[in-house]
C-alpha cells in the first residue's frame, strides 16, 4: 500500500478531512500513521494539527498505542496548551481512567473556564460510563451557558430519545427550529418525535412538520414518507371528521405520488415501493 501512495495526495486528503471534520477514523489513523512515520520533516508546521487529528482518530478506533505516541509528541511540544491537555484527558478516558480524566479537564477549566470543548468532554465522561441521566444533567448545565450551540441541543434531544423522554426531546427540537427555521432536518426530526409520541393531536402536528420539511427540501425522503404515513393514519382514524378524512387522503396520495416519482427517477426498487404504497393505502382505507 505504502509504495503507491503519494505524499502530497495523502497530505491533502487528510487536510481536507480535517477541515470538513469528516469522521473517517480507520483510514485517518492508517494514512496519518504512514505520513508521520515517513514524512514528519516534510510536513513542517502542519505536523502538529496532523498529530492532533491522528490521535483523535486512533482513540476513536481503539488504537491506543498510536494515540499515545501522537499525544506524547504534542504534549512535549506544547506542554501548557489546553488543547494538548485535552488530548491527554481523552487518552485517559479511552484507558477507562475516568476520574483522572475528570481531574485533567477540571484543571484546564480552572485557567480557562469558558472552554466549551472541555466541558463537552466532561459530559462525554458520563456517556463513557453509560450514565445517560448524568450526561443529560451535565448537558443541561452546559446549555444554560451555551444556548446557541445547536449541536448540543441535538445531542440532548438524542439522549432524551434514548431515555424515551419524547416530550423533552421535542422541546429541544422546538428550540432548534426557532434558532434556524429553514433547516428541513429539524422539522423532520421534530415530526418523527411527535409521531412516535402518538395520539391524534401529535399525529396532526407530525404531518404538518413533515410537510414543512418537504417544502424546505423536496428531496427529503424521510419527510415524504413521514407525511404519507401520518396523513394515512389520520385519514383512517375512526374519530376523524369527513372533512379531515378527505383532506388527509389528499395529502397522503400527494406524498405517495411524490415518493413513487422519486423511485422512478432512481429506478431500482420501484415494484417493492409501489406495492407497499398500495398496501398502506388499503389499510388506511378501512
Amino acid at each position: 500500500m505504502a509504495a503507491t501512495m503519494n505524499f502530497e495526495d495523502v497530505r491533502d486528503k487528510l487536510r481536507k478531512w480535517r477541515e470538513d471534520k469528516v469522521r473517517n477514523s480507520v483510514e485517518t489513523a492508517d494514512l496519518g500513521e504512514y505520513l508521520l512515520a515517513n514524512y514528519r520533516r516534510k510536513l513542517g508546521d502542519e505536523v502538529w494539527p496532523l498529530y492532533e487529528q491522528v490521535s483523535i482518530a486512533a482513540l476513536d478506533c481503539g488504537r491506543l498505542s498510536l494515540a499515545r505516541l501522537c499525544i506524547h509528541a504534542v504534549r512535549q511540544q506544547f506542554p501548557h496548551s489546553s488543547r494538548s491537555k485535552r488530548l491527554h484527558g481523552m487518552l485517559e478516558e479511552a484507558e477507562g481512567e475516568f476520574d483522572k480524566a475528570r481531574e485533567t479537564y477540571n484543571d484546564i477549566l480552572k485557567d480557562d473556564p469558558a472552554n466549551g470543548l472541555v466541558m463537552k468532554r466532561l459530559i462525554a465522561i458520563h456517556k463513557g460510563q453509560n450514565d445517560i441521566p448524568g450526561a443529560i444533567k451535565e448537558l443541561n448545565k452546559y446549555i444554560e451557558n451555551f444556548m446557541s450551540d445547536s449541536e448540543a441541543w441535538m445531542e440532548l434531544a438524542e439522549l432524551y430519545i434514548q431515555e424515551q423522554h419524547y416530550s423533552k426531546a421535542a422541546f429541544c427540537f422546538e428550540e432548534l427550529i426557532l434558532s434556524n427555521p429553514h433547516h428541513h432536518l429539524y422539522h423532520q426530526r421534530y415530526a418523527e418525535i411527535m409521531y412516535t409520541q402518538g395520539g391524534p393531536e401529535n399525529l396532526e402536528i407530525a404531518r404538518k412538520y413533515f410537510a414543512q420539511a418537504v417544502k424546505l427540501n423536496s428531496n427529503n425522503m424521510r419527510a415524504l414518507y413521514g407525511m404519507f404515513l401520518s396523513a394515512s393514519h389520520l385519514a383512517a382514524s375512526s374519530k376523524a371528521t369527513i372533512k379531515k378524512k378527505t383532506e388527509n387522503t389528499k395529502y397522503a396520495s400527494w406524498a405517495a405520488a411524490q415518493i413513487a416519482h422519486k423511485y422512478k427517477q432512481a429506478e431500482p426498487q420501484v415494484e417493492v415501493v409501489g406495492e407497499m404504497l398500495d398496501k398502506l393505502a388499503i389499510t388506511s382505507g378501512n
Binding site: R23, N130, E192, Y195, A206, G226, S230, E267, E275
Partner: protein, 200 residues
C-alpha cells in the same frame, strides 16, 4: 433449537455493526417461510440492516418494516428475528427501545428471537458468541443459552465473515438509513449478496 443463521445473515449483521462501531444499530433477520411451515425450524436466510442514525423513533421503522414485509412476501420469507447493538461497548443489556421493537416483531411471529450484539466480543475472528439470544417467555425477554442457535456452516461462516471484514466489505453495506439518505442505496444489498454467494 431456536434458529439456524445463514452465513449471509450473520455476515450482514456483523458488517453492519462494524460499519458503525460508534453508534447503536439494529436490523431484522428473515427466515424461510416454507421450512418453518414444514419442520417448525426457524431457518434464518438473510438479514436486513435497518438504522444507525436514530434507533428510537417510530415512523421510519414502520416504513422499513412494511417494505421488508412486502419483500418477504414476494420471496417466500418472513421476519423472524431482531438484532440490536448498543452504543456503549460494555452495555450488554437489551435497552427498553430494543425490547419494544422486539415485542412488536414477536407479536407478528411468536417464535421470533431477539439477538443482542455482545459488543465486547466483536473482533476479527467473528465467533458465534458475538450474538446473545433472547426468547420471549411469559411476557418477558429471557436470555437463552447460545447452544440454542447455530451458524449454518459453523466455522466456515465465521471465516467468511472475517475475510469480508478484512477486505473492509462493511463500507459497501447499506442499511435503511443509507437508503433514506439516498434511495439509490440498496438496503437489500444486491452487490454484497453476489459477493457472499461466491464464497459458498
Amino acid at each position: 433449537m431456536a434458529a439456524t443463521i445463514s452465513t449471509k445473515a450473520f455476515c450482514k449483521c456483523l458488517l453492519h455493526v462494524s460499519k458503525y462501531p460508534y453508534c447503536a444499530v439494529n436490523g431484522v433477520f428473515v427466515a424461510d417461510k416454507k421450512t418453518f411451515k414444514d419442520t417448525r425450524e426457524v431457518k434464518i436466510v438473510d438479514a436486513v440492516p435497518l438504522f444507525h442514525q436514530c434507533v428510537g423513533l417510530a415512523p421510519m421503522l414502520e416504513i422499513a418494516l412494511v417494505q421488508i414485509d412486502t419483500f418477504c412476501e414476494a420471496n417466500g420469507l418472513m421476519i423472524a428475528g431482531y438484532y440490536h447493538a448498543n452504543e456503549h461497548i460494555r452495555d450488554n443489556n437489551p435497552s427498553p427501545i430494543a425490547l419494544k421493537i422486539a415485542d412488536k416483531i414477536q407479536s407478528n411471529f411468536s417464535d421470533a428471537h431477539l439477538y443482542l450484539i455482545n459488543n465486547g466480543k466483536v473482533d476479527a475472528s467473528c465467533k458465534k458468541d458475538t450474538l446473545m439470544v433472547y426468547q420471549h417467555q411469559d411476557g418477558k425477554w429471557k436470555p437463552l443459552n447460545n447452544a440454542n442457535f447455530k451458524l449454518e456452516q459453523e466455522d466456515s461462516t465465521c471465516e467468511t465473515c472475517a475475510d469480508l471484514l478484512k477486505a473492509r466489505a462493511q463500507e459497501d453495506l447499506m442499511d435503511f438509513d443509507c437508503h433514506l439518505d439516498d434511495i439509490t442505496n440498496d438496503w437489500q444489498n444486491g452487490a454484497l449478496n453476489e459477493r457472499l454467494e461466491s464464497y459458498s
